[in-house]
């Protein structure tokens, strides 16, 4: 047993606080918007130039001028504002965005994050990920704990080119939640049906405490 994609997103949504401006990455992080707790008002930023991102449009109401950072059609809300890319990253770099929830290929015990490139295989680009991890108040990573082949993706040191150095605060995986602390990672909680021994066995990184 472990969390599925939706349960991971629901757990990540528990990180949100009322009044926050938040950026959600592509993939599982996008699902977090489905689980924002009652009574918590957050404003979602899309780094292509929008605050106050609404849900996907109904069929027939798609607008080519209104997309998110994953190039998906979206909608606006009553509080939405639009701005250009320089302004968008000024608010990101300037620390105005409280938290980013992002996917990862690898994360390390010192908070290093790799999520943009596999040399010789995948050369797509970092998009806004490097700016986000350097600028926002808190970085939460949502990812599968291990690869398809069962190898840990929560490592002592990243093997892939970094997106940011020492930038991750909290890691939410299908097996549980870990915090980056001095000396390694600290277990915060286990996913449903996962024992501490399971979590430790799937983790290459040093677990402290």
């Amino acid at each position: 047993m472990a969390w599925d994609r939706n349960q991971m997103a629901a757990r990540a949504a528990q990180e949100l606080q009322d009044g926050w401006y938040v950026n959600l990455g592509i993939g599982i992080p996008t699902l977090v918007s489905n689980y924002i707790p009652e009574g918590v008002e957050v404003t979602l930023q899309s780094e292509n130039g929008m605050l106050g991102m609404g849900p996907f449009p109904f069929e027939g109401e798609e607008d080519p001028d209104l997309i998110n950072a994953g190039k998906q059609t979206i909608t606006e809300l009553a509080r939405t504002s639009y701005f250009d890319s320089a302004q968008s990253f000024a608010m990101i770099r300037g620390g105005k965005i409280a938290m980013a929830i992002l996917g990862a290929m690898e994360v390390a015990e010192n908070g290093d994050l790799a999520n943009w490139m596999i040399p010789g295989k995948l050369v797509k680009g970092m998009g806004g990920a490097m700016d986000l991890v350097a600028g926002v108040g808190r970085v939460v990573v949502v990812m599968d704990h291990t690869s398809k082949h069962g190898e840990s993706k929560v490592l002592k040191a990243c093997t892939l080119p970094l997106t940011g150095k020492g930038v991750v605060d909290r890691i939410i995986t299908n097996l549980g939640v870990l915090d980056v602390v001095p000396g390694g990672l600290k277990i915060v909680e286990m996913a449903d049906g996962v024992s501490e021994a399971d979590l430790r066995a799937a983790t290459e990184a040093t677990i402290v405490g």
Partner: protein
């Protein structure tokens, strides 16, 4: 003062030369200067360096200039949607400089604002920082990035007046304002040129001082990822 031209080809007349540096607006296929890109294809200008967040898709947007091998180098943050791009890059035919998205936007903004360089913490400790000057401010390390000044900017807006004041629509604004400001010459294509005085001066997104030539035309505005939700059953 005459800024309005009849066609994209006429608007680019006298501005193009082989080896030139062009900054383009747009994010994915949203808010891209479709008509000016088509005119660049038709012109045959080659060995171009283009600063643009993305490089279109196969057969649309800047992807068209890849197919005709007119691009020598791209400065971009994300090129994942384009198989021809990947092929030319991996075979060494095309040069690529990855810039973090916010660094690319700020390089354009800075170039247009007379700022030759700026320090940012984006990319510190990554391959992006290699070979760049590092400097500490208040105990935090930053790297030096340079402003971009392009020979030509090509942008897409929603509306313009004949003096070049521009209004954008929703997320189609994206890189267009910073790209517009960083060109020695900026050509803008819009969906509608409206009479002088009909745009609210308080709601101009980019003042006409940055825009030298304007054309109006029909846009395909292709959607890259059509994503919808189901209506709730009543």
């Amino acid at each position: 003062m005459k800024k309005v031209y009849g066609t994209a080809k006429e608007a680019l007349d006298g501005l193009l030369f082989d080896g030139m540096f062009i900054a383009s607006g747009g994010f994915g296929l949203c808010g891209i200067p479709e008509l000016l890109i088509d005119a660049l294809v038709e012109s045959g200008v080659k060995d171009i360096t283009i600063a643009s967040n993305n490089c279109g898709v196969d057969g649309f947007g800047l992807g068209k200039l890849l197919e005709t091998r007119q691009i020598r180098k791209m400065i971009s943050s994300y090129v994942g949607e384009n198989a021809e791009f990947m092929r030319q890059y991996l075979s060494g035919e095309l040069e690529l400089e990855f810039n973090p998205q916010g660094t690319l936007a700020e390089r354009m903004r800075a170039g247009g604002a007379g700022i030759p360089g700026f320090y940012t913490k984006t990319g510190v400790g990554t391959v992006i920082a290699e070979g760049k000057e590092h400097k500490d401010f208040d105990g935090q390390t930053y790297i030096l990035e340079k402003g971009i000044v392009a020979d030509l900017s090509i942008v897409k807006a929603w509306k313009a007046d004949d003096t070049g004041n521009l209004v954008f629509r929703k997320t189609a604004r994206n890189f267009n304002p910073p790209a517009a400001t960083c060109g020695k010459i900026c050509v803008a294509e819009v969906e509608e040129i409206v009479p002088r005085g009909s745009l609210d001066p308080d709601c101009i997104h980019l003042p006409g001082i940055y825009v030298h030539r304007i054309i109006q035309g029909e846009h395909e505005k292709r959607i890259e990822q059509r994503t919808v939700r189901k209506r709730e059953a009543v």
